[in-house]
Symmetry: C2
Subunit: 202 residues, 2 copies
DNA sequence: CCTACCGATCGGTAGG
DNA sequence: CCTACCGATCGGTAGG
């Protein structure tokens, strides 16, 4: 049952996300956060146990979103190229839909302490593995060139993850357009291959 | 005239680079650094004016290296694809040659204060502009597909910049092999285009 | 490069 | 959500 007005706790998490993105986790103080929220520093602890709890929440909530997006994008029997296209679109849509927590997820997770740190790394590895599986399938089916799946997966993801710095909600490109351009570049490459078409359906 | 034994100051900068990479700039204390170097914290200030001076040195030295590498890779009259290949190789070689300061350069520059921060951003923009110029030239010459140069430049650089997390000096792939794979993926893309050759000269 | 130290600020708690 | 506060630690300085 969603609340119509944002709860104090959610507002706190949102402000923490903004600050962690702007300054980084380590450089953000609870007093910075209190000021941004408009309360005294001590009052924050009525809603949250510690600074790290905020980071943990942001990172693992984003991990959940990324996995949920892949689940939605997954369909059995899809050709590898089409499955990859859906994965790319799903991944980009999570970033464009949540650019601030995406930036924190991508850069601040290493400030997690154990055991969260190990858990987080395991999730990230599992996520990369799903991309790798599609790329491997494409290579084996002959749809993709004989690239190294591990190398290629990490390169593809690094290109996709650039999006959070790139995307502006009020910018010229929509999330779908960004995803389409990224997919196009990664699939076809930069090179003009000479197989011209008379018309290009955008 | 290079010194045979590392000066205390250089050793300090090297240890600072390691720590800034491992924990991030904000989470690294001067006492951490002192412990790593093997002196008391106050002794660090005999060699360095402030913590930020260390960061500044690392970031701007790396910027110099990146620009110098592009200068070496530049040659007038080169076809855009070949010029880009050289740029990619040069950029990757800087990262693989200096993986720790490269990581600091890529992630910690935002902790610079003014006016260094503005200077740094200007250098980064100039650097990206040189890649963009090659890509634009390739598009105009018809060697590259009609991609958006700005979008493509940032995507290419984000793929290249992943290298510092990827490269291991004792790993299976050399710097040249990594650069070649990245260039190949970015130029030709993932997709098998059907134009098979009987033999592929690696 | 050391001992001794400073003022500021940190994350967090007690007790309303 | 506040006032009042704590012990620890921060970047950095004085003066050898």
């Amino acid at each position: 049952m969603p609340t119509l007005t944002e709860t104090p706790k959610l507002r706190l998490e949102r402000k923490a996300t903004e600050l962690f993105r702007e300054r980084g986790y380590a450089a953000t103080t609870m007093r910075d956060l209190a000021r941004r929220v408009g309360v005294e520093a001590a009052s924050l602890y009525a809603h949250v146990r510690s600074k790290e709890e905020l980071l943990r929440k942001i990172c693992f909530d984003m991990a959940d979103r990324f996995f949920a997006a892949l689940d939605t994008a997954e369909a059995p029997g899809l050709a590898p190229a089409e499955q990859l296209r859906r994965y790319v679109t799903a991944h980009v849509s999570v970033i464009t839909g949540h650019p601030a927590p995406a930036a924190v997820f991508l850069h601040e997770w290493r400030h997690l302490s154990e055991p969260s740190l190990t858990d987080f790394r395991a999730l990230r590895d599992r996520y990369e593995e799903r991309f790798r599986a599609v790329i491997t399938a494409g290579v084996e089916a002959g749809a993709f060139r004989a690239v190294d799946p591990k190398f290629t997966t990490l390169t593809v993801l690094s290109a996709l993850n650039w999006t959070y710095q790139w995307y502006r909600p009020d910018g010229a490109m929509s999330s779908e357009q960004i995803a389409a351009q990224l997919y196009d570049l990664l699939l076809r490459g930069l090179k003009e291959d000479g197989s011209r078409k008379t018309e290009d359906g955008a």
